[in-house]
């Protein structure tokens, strides 16, 4: 006979009530774990996305910085155009280590309706593109045969989705143009995987954008010169410079407002769960008034009674915590799917990463929750006077 056994048997008496209370705690903990997991996962994925862009700065045409930031992560540039002359001007700057011009264009593909709302993403690139992205390797084939060749290199996922191989023809919807696949990139785990690349000049010709660019990716020789470099370009008309650090901050800002809301939802879930636990245990204390009186009569001290009731609440929260953790692990993909629908930008990779630390932390949280929720009911029970308690129950 021990406190645990007594508490467990008490909880088992009203199985439905106990299970409902445990479910309340489990849901609250699951929400909390998913949120913490999202917090860690999103940031990590975002950072890896940004690292894999290869450049620290992006020069784009002036426009909404939020839109630019989002579009840039999706394909390397905002869909606002600037003249090629900007590139010619910047490229000579001695502080630049690597630089690459790019032109992003989209085309609506009615056959691709099932994915990404049927929009195909094309990017005109220059040979310097590969120098900025050393991890972009060819799985099949190789680089374009000329600067104006009617050829494409396809990202890994786009190739897989469209079942393309080197030598195949690719039709650009709406442009009545057929290009030949000369290369397929290996998987990079970035947005590049879904893009169809072509020579910059070809893209300018096909999409009717002669001498236009959407972005210029830049890597400086020395990161410390970043602010000075930005300052120098500040007065250049019609362009803006976005640094990756800025992009990261901008996106995290956008996400943090969503996070604040979900955090408050989690807090409310926890408060409701705690109230539920307190209510359940209080009710059970009232129902057992005479039993508690008898326990006191046969030798239980205030501390003994307090311990039994406290153990009951803590057990409820511990079980709830365990189930909540399992729910969060099992439901992680569902949460991820839901988040992808509502977030302004979702990086590649897992958005929700539930680490062992998060599980340990939430379990400790559940125990603390139980200890807090148990104080009042346990105190009420411990304070019952044996005579009154026994007679009340009779």
């Amino acid at each position: 006979m021990n406190t645990f056994a007594i508490a467990l048997k008490n909880l088992a008496r009203k199985k439905v009530r106990t299970l409902l209370t445990i479910s309340g705690v489990a849901i609250a903990i699951a929400v909390l774990v998913s949120l913490w997991g999202f917090d860690a996962g999103y940031q990590k994925s975002l950072e890896s996305d940004i690292d894999k862009m290869g450049y620290q700065l992006l020069v784009t045409a002036k426009g909404c910085p939020y839109e630019a930031a989002t579009l840039m992560l999706k394909g390397g540039g905002g869909l606002l155009y600037m003249p090629e002359g900007v590139y010619d001007k910047i490229v000579k700057d001695p502080r630049i280590d690597r630089i690459t011009p790019q032109l992003v264009a989209t085309a609506y593909d009615p056959q691709k309706e099932s994915s990404d709302s049927g929009i195909a993403l094309y990017m005109g690139i220059h040979e310097s593109y590969l120098a900025l992205k050393p991890w972009s390797k060819f799985k099949f084939g190789g680089w374009f045969s000329g600067e104006d060749a009617d050829e494409v290199i396809i990202g890994y996922e786009a190739a897989e989705f469209e079942q393309r191989a080197v030598g195949d023809k690719v039709f650009i919807p709406g442009k009545d143009k057929v290009l030949t696949v000369v290369g397929i990139f290996e998987r990079t785990g970035t947005q590049d995987d879904g893009i169809i690349f072509m020579p910059l000049k070809t893209a300018q010709r096909i999409f009717d954008l002669p001498g236009k660019l959407t972005g210029i990716g830049i890597k400086l020789k020395d990161m410390r010169e970043l602010s000075k470099f930005e300052e120098d370009l500040y007065y250049e008309p019609g362009i803006q410079i976005i640094s990756m650090a800025q992009v990261r901050g901008t996106i995290l800002n956008l996400v943090s407002s969503a996070k604040a809301m979900t955090n408050s939802v989690a807090m409310i879930a926890i408060i409701v769960a705690v109230i539920g636990v307190v209510n359940t245990i209080l009710m059970s204390v009232f129902e057992r008034t005479s039993e508690i009186g008898v326990m006191k009569a046969i030798g239980a001290s205030r501390a003994d009674i307090f311990r039994i009731i406290w153990t009951e609440t803590t057990l409820i929260c511990v079980f709830g915590g365990i189930i909540g953790n399992i729910l969060a692990i099992l439901g992680g993909n569902m949460v991820e799917y839901a988040l992808k629908q509502v977030l302004p930008y979702t990086p590649k990779g897992h958005l929700v990463i539930i680490t062992p630390e998060v599980l340990v932390l939430s379990s400790v949280g559940a125990i603390v929750m139980g200890l807090i929720a148990g104080v009042y009911p346990a105190f009420r029970a411990a304070s019952l006077k044996p005579v009154e308690a026994i007679r009340k129950g009779e």
Binding site: M1, A5, K9, E291, V294, I298, D304, G393, E394
Partner: protein
Amino acid sequence: MAGHVIKAEKLTKVYRRGSEDVYAINGINLEIDKGDFIALMGPSGSGKTTLLDIIGCLDSVSSGTLEVFGRDVSRAREKDLVALRRGNIGFIFQEFLLIPSLTALENVALPLYFARLRKEKKFLTEILKKVGLGHRINHLPKEMSGGERQRVAIARALAISPKFLIADEPTGNLDTRSSQEIFDIFRKVNAEEGLTVILATHNPKLGSQTSRIIYLKDGKTVLREESGLY
């Protein structure tokens, strides 16, 4: 006899009901010695239960003195009363008041757990056998008859080897046959082990089988009688 188990002088318990003072017991003098088998009798509301609660150290005294094992407990704190009850006083109630979620054996083990006493399962089984329940040790209270439940309650009271037993109408909810059987257990532990037993009863037939009857009315002792039958 060297010292009384219980000695009460001018014991009074007053409750406040509205603006009125109600004397549940009013100036009772009482001496109970080791081995006594005492029946408290009297109409409902005469103060039997209150007197049992007080001498069982469950309730406080309004005035007068109460000595238990020679120690004045009339002003004792709750903590000291708990310590005194533990291992010294066994309680049996009319409503049995077993813990429904625990088996007969676990109910009997409960006071030992609170008293931090470790006993073998065999010890607990022996006690249940003593009250005639050797075959029901793993049954829950709801699976037992009233008489059986009361036997478990008696076993629970006996588990801590108390100095005296307090039983508040222990047969009040039982039929005549079970009542006599339960009463016989009290008589047996009193006769064979010299255990002091104080019980309240409405049943004159049972009362007449004790060594002493104390009649209460309106919180006062009205008659003391040595029973000839015992």
